[in-house]
C-alpha cells in the first residue's frame, strides 16, 4: 500500500516525518483527500484500536494525534480544513469547589486529538462561568468533571443555569469523574456519562453524529 509508511509514522508519532511523508505523497500526485482518508485517518483508526486493546499507552496515542495534525497542516490549502475539522466544540471544566484536574485534562486532550475543538475552562468553575463560556464560544458540548461527592450537585446547578439562559437545547451535556455514574447522569437529564477518557471520546462522537 502506498500509505504504509505514512500509517507507520503516525503510529510512531513522529510529526516531522509525517509532514514530510505527506508532502512526498502530494508531490507524487496523490490527492489530499486520498492521503487524508487512506493515510492519516486510516492510521488513527489503527491507533484507536490499539488504545482499546492496550497495545498503545495513552501518551503514545496523544502523540500520534499530534503527528497526524502536523500532517494535516501540510494539506491545509488543499483541504477545506473546516469541513474536515469536526463539528464539535466543547467547553470542559471541573465544577465549583473541585480542584481535581488530571482526569479532566486527559479527556480534554483526547477530545482534541479526536478532532474536537476544546475550550478548557479550568477547575473550580461556577455554574454561571460555565454557561458564560458556552455562550461566548458558541460551543455545542458542555463537559463537566466532578471527583467529589460534595461537588456533584454543581452539575445539576449548571444544567439549571443552561436551561434558564435558554441554552440547554443547543448543547449536549456530558459528565464524568469518579463518584459520577450513569444513574446520576439520567437523574440530571445529562446527555451522557462516560467512565474513562476512551469512553468519553466514543460518547462525544456518538452525540455529534
Amino acid at each position: 500500500m502506498a500509505f504504509d509508511k505514512l500509517i507507520e509514522l503516525v503510529q510512531v508519532g513522529d510529526g516531522q516525518q509525517v509532514a514530510a511523508e505527506v508532502q512526498k505523497q502530494l508531490d507524487a500526485g496523490n490527492s489530499a483527500p486520498t492521503i487524508l482518508n487512506d493515510g492519516l485517518i486510516a492510521a488513527m483508526d489503527i491507533v484507536g484500536e490499539k488504545m482499546e486493546s492496550e497495545e498503545m499507552f495513552i501518551p503514545e496515542v496523544l502523540r500520534s494525534a499530534k503527528a497526524m495534525e502536523q500532517g494535516l497542516a501540510v494539506m491545509k490549502d488543499e483541504l477545506a480544513l473546516d469541513d474536515v475539522q469536526a463539528s464539535g466544540k466543547v467547553v470542559i471544566g471541573t465544577v465549583k469547589g473541585d480542584l481535581h484536574d488530571i482526569g479532566k485534562n486527559l479527556v480534554s486532550m483526547l477530545l482534541s486529538s479526536a478532532g474536537f475543538e476544546v475550550i478548557d475552562a479550568g477547575i473550580n468553575v461556577a455554574p454561571d462561568a460555565f454557561v458564560a463560556k458556552v455562550e461566548e464560544t458558541g460551543a455545542n458540548f458542555l463537559a463537566m468533571s466532578a471527583l467529589l461527592t460534595t461537588t456533584m450537585p454543581m452539575m445539576k446547578q449548571t444544567i439549571a443555569e443552561l436551561e434558564q439562559r435558554g441554552l440547554r437545547d443547543r448543547v449536549k451535556v456530558i459528565i464524568g469523574g469518579a463518584p459520577v455514574n450513569q444513574g446520576y447522569a439520567d437523574e440530571l437529564g445529562a446527555d451522557g456519562y462516560a467512565s474513562d477518557a476512551g469512553a468519553a471520546i466514543k460518547l462525544a462522537k456518538s452525540l455529534r453524529a
Binding site: D98, L99, I102, L106, T149, T150, P153
Partner: protein, 478 residues
C-alpha cells in the same frame, strides 16, 4: 537520619542510599530556587516575601537558607492522643502505626457483597468496627455518607468518629470551613485550644493540587492548621507522567519540593509546628485504563526513606488494593504494601482497607488487613538473644532425646507467638466442619461479631450538644 529506637526492630528495608537521598534533596532545592511555586494565596506570598523569598507575581522562589532553617525548626516527631488516657501514639523514630482510609464514595457491604453508596449508619458501624480492631491504630472517616446534606456531611461524619472511637484521627476535608469545624470539635473535647495543642487528637491531612502550583484552598488550610500549631501533613499529588514527571526520582524531587515549600510556610507561621512528610501522593497512573493505581510496586518505600533521611515523621500508605472485591488480589496487594511500608519505617500508614483505587471501602477487607498487620507486627518484633531466649540450661537438661512440651520454658513463651483470627491454620477436617469458608467469608463473619460485641462509652451529653452547635456554626452554605 532516624535512629532505631531502643527495643525496636532492627529490620529496615530501603532502596535509596544516603547519597541518593541527598541528591534528591538537592534537586528539590534547585527546583524551589529556580522554578519556585505558584502560590495562589496573597497572605502566604507576603509572609514568604518577608522571610526573604523571591516573589514575582504569584511565583515564589525559596533560598536554601530558608529551607534549611525550616528543616531545623520543625520537630522530628509528635504525639497524637486518643480520647482519655488510651491510645497515645508517639509518631517518631521507627514507630509504625496503621490507619484506615477516608471518605470513599462507594462501599462494599460485607453482608450482601453489594457495591453501594454509604450512609451515616454505615459510617457509624464502620468506625465502631475500626475502634474494635486491635491493629488499626488511628482512624479516618471510612465512607462519605450520601444521606446527609453536602453542607454538613463532613462535620456530621466527624461527630460520628468522635462518638464511636477513642483512637486518634487523621482528618481531611475539601473545604477550609470543614477543617476549622473539625478542629473546633476536637478543641471542645480537649477543653480548649491550648489543651488540644498540648494533646492533639489528630493529624490534619492536606492534599495539595499540584506539586509546584498550590491553590488558595491548599495554602489556606495549611495556614490555619499551622496557626494552631497542631500536626499536619501537606501532601502534593504527582500522578507520574501526567501531573509530574514519569521517573520515580524526578517525581519524588518535584513532590518533595512542594512539601518543603509547605514546611517552610508552616514554620514561618508558627515555629515548631509538627509537619509529617509524605513524599507526595506518588501514585502510578495506569496509562491504559487511566486508573490511579494505589497498589503499584512503584509507589512504595522511597518516600518513607526521604522522610527518614530528613529525620521527620512519615505519612505513608499501605494496605490499599485496586481489586473490586475482597478476593485474592485484595489480600495480596494489601499484604505486599503493608509489609514493605512497615519495613521502610513509615510512621503512619493510612488507607488500609481501600479498594478500587480509593473509590470504595470494605469492612471485610479491613478485617483481613488487621490480620495481616498482626502478622507484620509480630515479624517486626526484634529478636532478643539472652539467657532466657537461648535457654541453654534447659536444652542441656532435656536434649538430646527429650521433648519440650511440658517444660516451663515452653509454657512461659506460648503467648509469644502470633495466632491468626481469620487466616485459617486448622486441619482440613476442622475447616470443612466449620463451613469450609474462604478468607473473605470468614472476615465478613468477624465484622459482625466484633460490631455486636464492641462497646464504647458514649460522648457526654454536654459535649455532644456542643458538637452539634459547632456543626451549625461551621456548616457550608452549599
Amino acid at each position: 537520619m532516624k535512629e532505631l529506637l531502643q527495643g525496636q526492630a532492627g529490620v529496615r528495608f530501603g532502596k535509596l542510599t544516603d547519597e541518593q537521598c541527598a541528591k534528591i534533596h538537592e534537586a528539590s532545592c534547585r527546583l524551589l530556587e529556580r522554578v519556585g511555586v505558584e502560590a495562589g494565596h496573597q497572605r502566604a506570598r507576603e509572609i514568604l516575601a518577608q522571610a526573604g523569598a523571591k516573589v514575582t507575581g504569584e511565583r515564589v522562589r525559596l533560598s536554601r537558607d530558608l529551607i534549611d532553617w525550616a528543616l531545623a525548626k520543625s520537630p522530628s516527631g509528635f504525639t497524637l492522643y486518643g480520647r482519655g488516657e488510651e491510645h497515645s501514639m508517639p509518631v517518631e523514630g521507627t514507630n509504625v502505626f496503621y490507619g484506615n482510609g477516608s471518605e470513599t464514595p462507594i462501599m462494599i457491604d460485607h453482608r450482601s457483597g453489594a457495591r453501594r453508596q454509604g450512609t451515616l449508619a454505615d459510617v457509624t458501624e464502620g468506625i465502631k468496627l475500626i475502634d474494635a480492631l486491635p491493629h488499626i491504630d488511628f482512624v479516618m472517616s471510612f465512607a462519605l455518607p450520601w444521606d446527609l446534606d453536602t453542607g454538613v456531611v463532613y462535620l456530621e461524619q466527624f461527630k460520628a468518629m468522635m462518638a464511636n472511637t477513642t483512637k486518634p484521627f487523621a482528618y481531611v476535608a475539601p473545604r477550609l470551613s470543614d477543617v476549622e469545624g473539625m478542629v473546633a470539635m476536637m478543641e471542645a473535647e480537649a477543653g480548649g485550644e491550648e489543651a488540644h495543642r498540648a494533646r492533639p487528637r489528630g493529624l490534619s491531612y492536606i492534599n495539595v493540587t499540584h506539586p509546584l502550583r498550590h491553590s488558595q484552598e491548599d495554602l489556606e488550610k495549611l495556614m490555619f492548621v499551622a496557626g494552631k500549631g497542631i500536626p499536619l501533613v501537606y501532601n502534593p499529588a504527582v500522578l507520574r507522567g501526567a501531573s509530574g514527571p514519569m521517573t520515580i526520582p524526578a517525581a519524588l524531587a518535584v513532590a518533595n519540593a512542594g512539601e518543603l515549600f509547605g514546611l517552610v510556610l508552616a514554620q514561618l507561621i508558627n515555629e515548631g509546628t509538627p509537619v509529617s512528610l509524605s513524599g507526595g501522593t506518588q501514585d502510578k497512573l495506569d496509562m491504559h485504563s487511566t486508573i490511579d493505581v494505589y497498589s503499584a510496586p512503584e509507589n512504595r518505600v522511597a518516600f518513607a526513606e526521604m522522610a527518614n533521611w530528613y529525620d521527620k515523621a512519615h505519612w505513608g500508605l499501605g494496605g490499599a488494593s485496586d481489586s473490586k472485591v475482597v478476593d485474592e488480589q485484595a489480600a495480596a496487594e494489601a499484604a505486599l504494601s503493608l509489609t514493605l511500608e512497615s519495613l521502610a519505617g513509615s510512621n503512619l500508614i493510612h488507607d488500609v482497607g481501600y479498594m478500587e483505587s480509593g473509590l470504595s471501602n470494605s469492612l471485610a477487607q479491613l478485617v483481613v488487613c488487621d490480620e495481616i498487620i498482626g502478622w507484620i507486627k509480630r515479624f517486626m518484633q526484634p529478636l532478643e538473644v539472652s539467657d532466657e531466649t537461648l535457654a541453654l540450661d534447659m536444652i542441656e537438661r532435656v536434649a538430646p532425646e527429650g521433648d519440650y512440651l511440658l517444660e516451663d520454658h515452653t509454657m512461659n513463651h506460648l503467648n509469644d507467638d502470633w495466632y491468626p483470627r481469620v487466616f485459617d491454620h486448622r486441619t482440613f477436617d476442622k475447616w470443612t466442619a466449620a463451613g469450609g469458608k474462604t478468607l473473605s467469608e470468614r472476615a465478613a463473619v468477624r465484622v459482625d461479631e466484633l460490631i455486636r460485641k464492641h462497646e464504647i462509652e458514649p460522648l457526654a451529653d454536654a459535649l455532644s450538644e456542643r458538637l452539634d452547635e459547632i456543626i451549625q456554626e461551621f456548616k457550608a452554605s452549599e
